[in-house]
C-alpha cells in the first residue's frame, strides 16, 4: 500500500511535540529552583514582597529585559510563547527572561494545567 505522508500534518505534530517538551522543561526548571534553594536572600525578599514594573523601572532595566517587561505590560498575563510572539524573539529566550523578571520580583508565575503563566502583580 502506498502511504502518502502529509507534510503539514508532520509539521503540526513536531510543533505540538516541541511545545510539550517546552512545558515539561518549564516544570523541571521550576522544581529544580525550588529544590536547590537557588534563590538568594534578595530574590526571596523580591518574591515575597514583589516590585512594581512602572515606566521608570522599565527604563532602568537592561535592554533585553526591558523588551520582555514592556510586552508583559501590554499583555498583563502571558505565557512565554505569547511574549515571544509579541517581541519577535525565540520562546526559549523569553522563557529565560521572564523567569529572570520573576526572580527579580517584577512578575509572578502560576501554572494552569500544563502551561506556565507570568503575570503582573
Amino acid at each position: 500500500m502506498n502511504l502518502r505522508i502529509d507534510e503539514n500534518q508532520v509539521a503540526f505534530s513536531i510543533v505540538s511535540e516541541l511545545k510539550s517538551i517546552n512545558e515539561k522543561l518549564d516544570r523541571i526548571i521550576d522544581v529544580l529552583e525550588r529544590l536547590s534553594g537557588s534563590y538568594t536572600l534578595m530574590e526571596r525578599r523580591n518574591l515575597k514582597f514583589g516590585r512594581v514594573l512602572d515606566v521608570l523601572t522599565l527604563l532602568s532595566l537592561p535592554d533585553n529585559l526591558r523588551k520582555t517587561a514592556m510586552a508583559m505590560c501590554k499583555l498583563n498575563e502571558a505565557t512565554a510563547d505569547q511574549i515571544a510572539e509579541e517581541t519577535g524573539r525565540k520562546r526559549a529566550v523569553e522563557s529565560s527572561l521572564l523567569n529572570q523578571l520573576a526572580r527579580m520580583g517584577y512578575l509572578r508565575k502560576k501554572r494552569v494545567g500544563r502551561k506556565v503563566y507570568f503575570y503582573l502583580k
Partner: protein, 262 residues
C-alpha cells in the same frame, strides 16, 4: 479604499511653553478637516489645557477617571465634529482641571502608574473599535510618569522644542535616555523659530539637517514664531478660523508628513 492609520501620537516636550498643546489641538482639527477620525486626549494632569477650549464639553468622566479605571474611554470622549462642521470625526477627552484632581494625580504611586501605562496601551484596540485614524495625547512637559507613559504607549512620539540651546540640549538627552531606551523612533517639531531674514526652501533644509545632526532624530517640521498665534492662544482654533495663516500652513505640512509615516 481608505488607508487605515490607527496610530497613537504623543506630543511631549522637555519644558513648558513650547506650544505643545496648541500644536496638538490644531493638528487634531487639521486631520478631522481632511476627513480623518481623530481623538485628542488631555494627559497633562498638572496643568490641563484642553478644557479652556472645550469648556462646554466637560463630561461626567475625564481622562483621570479612565486611568483610575472608573470608566471606559468611550465614557470620556465627546464628539465635537458636528459643532465645528468637520468632515471627519473629532472626539475630545478632557482632564479634570480641579485642584483636588491635580493633587490626586500628583500623589499617585508607582503601582498606579504601572496600571495607567497598561490602560494607555489598551487604547490600541480602542482605535480599531472606534474607527479612529489617530489618537493624539497632549502630555505634561518634562520627565514625569504621565508623559513617559504616553510616550511608551505611542506609535508616533513627537517632541516639541524651541531652538534655544538649553531646550535643544535637554531634548537631545530625553531622546537618548528615554525614547531610545523605549525603542521609539522620535520625531522633533521645532516651534517658535525666529529667523532674521526670509528663508528659501534650501535654507530651511539646511537648518533641518543641522538640527537632525544635533538631535540624531528626524525633524518633522519647523514652525516660525508668530506673535498673533501667541496673542490669540486658546481664544479660537487657528486651523478653523485662520486656515491661510502660515502657522496653519506649516502645520498642514507636518500633518502630511505624519500621514506618510508607515
Amino acid at each position: 479604499m481608505k488607508v487605515k492609520r490607527e496610530k497613537v501620537i504623543s506630543i511631549n516636550s522637555l519644558r513648558g511653553g513650547t506650544g505643545k498643546s496648541l500644536i496638538a489641538i490644531n493638528l487634531a482639527f487639521l486631520f478631522a478637516k481632511k476627513g480623518l477620525n481623530v481623538s485628542i486626549l488631555d494627559l497633562d494632569f498638572r496643568a490641563p489645557t484642553l478644557y479652556t477650549l472645550f469648556e462646554g464639553e466637560l463630561q461626567e468622566y475625564t481622562t483621570n477617571d479612565f486611568l483610575n479605571n472608573k470608566c471606559s474611554i468611550e465614557d470620556v470622549l465627546v464628539d465635537v465634529s458636528g459643532k465645528y462642521k468637520l468632515k471627519g470625526r473629532l472626539f475630545v477627552g478632557l482632564a479634570d482641571p480641579s485642584l483636588e484632581a491635580i493633587h490626586d494625580m500628583i500623589n499617585k504611586d508607582s503601582k498606579w502608574e504601572m496600571r495607567a501605562l497598561q490602560r494607555l496601551l489598551s487604547l490600541k484596540s480602542t482605535i480599531r473599535s472606534l474607527g479612529l485614524d489617530y489618537i493624539i495625547y497632549d502630555t505634561s512637559p518634562g520627565i514625569l510618569y504621565s508623559s513617559i507613559n504616553a510616550a511608551a504607549s505611542s506609535d508616533i512620539p513627537i517632541l516639541v522644542s524651541t531652538v534655544d540651546n538649553a531646550d535643544i540640549a535637554g531634548t537631545r538627552r530625553m531622546i537618548k535616555e528615554i525614547y531610545s531606551a523605549l525603542e521609539k523612533k522620535v520625531f522633533v517639531l521645532l516651534n517658535k523659530f525666529v529667523s532674521r531674514e526670509p528663508l528659501s526652501e534650501s535654507g530651511w533644509n539646511v537648518i533641518i539637517r543641522r538640527f537632525e545632526n544635533t538631535l540624531k532624530s528626524r525633524v518633522i517640521g519647523i514652525i516660525p514664531c508668530f506673535c498673533d498665534v501667541l496673542e490669540v492662544g486658546y481664544q479660537y482654533i487657528f486651523a478653523l478660523n485662520r486656515p491661510e495663516h502660515p502657522f496653519v500652513k506649516n502645520l498642514e505640512a507636518v500633518a502630511e508628513r505624519i500621514n506618510s509615516i508607515k
